[in-house]
Every structure is written in structure tokens, then in C-alpha cells.
């Protein structure tokens, strides 16, 4: 089986994007100081987080699969993460 990239894989999913509100916020300072930045880049199955050349963490919340792994590994204060508003976000058709 040809292995599609994570981005290509995500295109198979159905997402209802909340254009008005993101649901993820990184505190760059704490993320950098605690190593949370690198940890959430590595543990997110959807590649929501990217470390930019300047060391900041950018967030592509539209790709989020809402597992909560990032929040589990994040140091206190480094990450604000909650579920998207009702009806928004990933909508599994298989599950």
C-alpha cells in the first residue's frame, strides 16, 4: 500500500471548520522553556503543531483530530486546548 503523507491522510476525513474560533493556543514562552513545544510536535498524530525556524510553535487547528494527547504531555500553562464548539471539528464517518 502506498503510504500517503499525514496531510494527504487528513484530506480523507470530514471536517467542519469553525472559521470564527480556534480551540488551541500555545503559550510560546512556557512551551519553549519547558520543552512542551518539541513534545507536542512529536506526539500529535495530525501534525497540528510545527516548530518554526525561530523556535515558535505554529498551530493548524483545522487539522485537529481532538484526541487530547498534546494537552496530556503539555507542561502546566504551556497549552490551552479544549474541544471545538458543538458541531465543529472532525466528524468521523468510520470511527
Amino acid at each position: 500500500m502506498n503510504l500517503p503523507s499525514v496531510t494527504e491522510r487528513l484530506t480523507k476525513n470530514r471536517f467542519l471548520l469553525d472559521e470564527e474560533q480556534g480551540h488551541i493556543e500555545v503559550n510560546q514562552e512556557i512551551a519553549r522553556a519547558t520543552g512542551t513545544g518539541k513534545a507536542i510536535v512529536a506526539c500529535c498524530p495530525a501534525h497540528v503543531y510545527t516548530e518554526e525556524p525561530d523556535g515558535t510553535i505554529s498551530v493548524e487547528y483545522a487539522a485537529c483530530l481532538e484526541c487530547g494527547t498534546c494537552l496530556a504531555v503539555a507542561a502546566p500553562g504551556a497549552l490551552k486546548w479544549h474541544y471545538p464548539r458543538g458541531g465543529f471539528g472532525v466528524q468521523f464517518r468510520e470511527g
Binding site: 500500500m1 503510504l3 491522510r9 480523507k12 484526541c67 496530556a72 458543538g86 458541531g87 468510520e94 470511527g95
Partner: protein, 433 residues
Amino acid sequence: MTEPAEPDFEVIVIGAGVAGCVAAYQLARQGHSVLLIERGEAPGSKNLSGGVLYSRGIQQVFPGFLDQAPVERRITRNYINFLNGDSSVAIDYKDARLADPVNAVTVLRAKLDPWLAAQCEEAGALLMPGVRVDRVLTEQGTVVGVQAGDDELRCKVVVAADGVNSFIAKEAGLRQKEPLNHLAVGVKSVISLPRETIEARFNLTGDEGAAFAVVGDCTEGVGGGGFLYTNIDSLSAGIVVRLDDLTAKEKVVTDIFDHFLQHRFIAPYLEGGELLEYGCHLVAEGGLHMIGEIVTDGMVVVGDAAGLTLNTGLTVRGMDLAAGSAVAAAEAIGAALDAKDTSKAGLAGYRDKLFASYVGQDMKTYARAPSFLEVERMYKQYGELLANVLYGAFNLDTQPREHLVKVARKSLARSPLKMRQLIRDGIAGARAL
């Protein structure tokens, strides 16, 4: 003084997964007014599981479950696989008794959960999809309802069935942030294949199904495992890796997943398949030690939200425990409503019933499993040792043969494993599992 507001419902259930639906169904059947709130656009749309549901418990709730619910295949083949880089040793357990009566089925939650929620509606519960509960309403420390956006809905009992992240249980102070060795992340692809291909590849007929549990190189030595489950015309292929080990080894989770899918002994099963969906899910791995407070004034916590999952090495369970906890909760809530006491003391029967049932009993029986499964040697060295012993037996290289015991002893001597570790792990394994 103002009178307490009249409740809108007797019970509000947060989350229409297995636990939430079973609780709502049981309570509605008892004649209580029940609101079932789901944040996905439809039940199941936020829910994902590896895919094996041990179904005997849920069959007691829904006697027509196997015939009516959209289940995939009935598991008659369990394949337990030590997978190394270029060798593989497995126990291939097939048993017709597992099909009669049916013991386990594969499911796809976006298909199953709408059926479960429909049973709740038929029993009289009100389903409200597309609504995220933001927080519970409390008065003098008692939960009296939920807030969703600008709406406040009041009730006598809230059932927190909001999954492994349970913001609701955390906010109510019932759960703290979990240590990372209590959590794992599951990553899964659903891959479509013609049903004849699946049946030929996995040696199945009709609606028989196979469940592969894989340990070793498939996770690049990170604590956890891989799985391969057969659905009717698709496969669920995934890994589950413990977060403490994943972060300590600084591995990228998607690299591990790709490594599994491309493994020379896994890839042939997936050959020619087309990706249908890519998903992931956080998994509670703490076992008994993760169950904290599950009852407070006006609220109970069920299913994943209560930390009720169980990895015994052979079976990986969650949905059956979710159903069992919901049955216990519904009984206790019904009794509390009848007695007009929904305080923590009034609802305390939930915990008693939970621990009297298979759910609590099994959580106790396997209380040592999580720490046993943290033994590093499980994920690399044991699989290699097994393969080396077999290689010694099968590799007839024209050298004089040695008895198997001697081959095994030599293999052990060459491996980084020590005899005393083998003995210690053997005893610990026997006790834990």
C-alpha cells in the same frame, strides 16, 4: 429566598458514546426523563476505538444487539504476534466456540453509535447533537445541571460520559491531570479492501473476523503495540503507544505508525487497500489505579471518563467496561431518584455496583497489568529471543543439531536478557495477567 429552579430533566447525560448511550437507554426505560447531549454533529462522529467490542455485556442491555446493531465481524481468530525487524513469532488462536455464543465483534463507532443513540430515543430519551457542554452548573458544591453556550439546563443527576479527556470530571475536581504512564495515544487508519480479499488474507469465512495484537518492533521498542482488525470490507490498522515512553524516547508518533504499516510482515495484509479515514484517540492505561472519585453530589462518571479501560496484554478492553459501568450507574441513579436523594451518599450505590460487577472485578484482577506491561523487555528482547530459539531449530545449516533446550540456553546467553529477568518477568506476568 428563591425556590430552587425546577429541573428540566431528571438526568442529563454528557456524551453519546457507549457509556452515555447505555446509561441514557437504561434510565429512559426506567421511565425517567433523560437528555442525551452529544458535541458531534451526530452520535459517533467524535468517537473512535481500535475496534474490538467484547459484546456479552452489551447484549444483556440490547438483546437484539448482534442482529440489529451495525457490527462488523464476529471475532473467531485471535493472533498474538511478537514482531521483530525481520522475524515474527505468533500464537494463532482460532476457536469456533468464540462464535457460539458470540464473544467479540469488530465495530466502527461512527456506524455503531448512531444505532445506540436511536435506541435511547426510542426508549424516550431526548437526543441533542451538535452541542458542547462547557461546564457543569453547581450550587453549594452540588451539580445541578449543565451549561452549553448561553443555555443552562437543569437536572437532578448529571452523567459525565464525555470520554477519556473528561473535562467535566476534571472541572468537578474528580480527576487530576494523569501521569503520562497512565496514558497512551492510539493512531489508526481504516483501509478499504474487498470483503473476499479480507476473507482470503485472514483465512475467514462469512462474517468471521480476526483480531491481531502485535508487540515488538512494530512500535520501534516504545511501550505499546500494534493492531489489525478485520471489518466487513475494511481493516482497522493502528498502534497504541504509552506517552511516558514515547516522550522519553523522543520518537515521532507518526513515524512509528508508518513503520508499523510498512513492516514487511504487516504491509502484505494492507496491500492494494485504500485509505478511508485517519484518526487517533487517547487511551487510559492506568487500570485500577486510574479510577478515582466517580461519584459526587448530583453527578457520576462512567466509561472512559472514569478511566475504565483494561489492557491485559491479550485483550484490550474499553467499550465493554463502558457498557458495564453505565448499567451500574443507571441502577444506582434510578434508586437515588426513587429515594429522592441524589447527593453523593444517595448515589454511592454506583461504586458498589460497579465493583460488584465484572467491570470492577476485572479491574481488580488485572490491577498489576499496567506496571507489568511497562517492562521494557516486552517490546524488543522477548520477541527476538523467541525467534532466535526457533531459528536455531529450523535453520538446518548442516552443522550437527543440538537439543532445543541447549539452543534456547545459548540464545538467552547471546541476548541482553538475564535468566533472572526471565524468571522475574515470568512470575510477575503470571501474577499480573
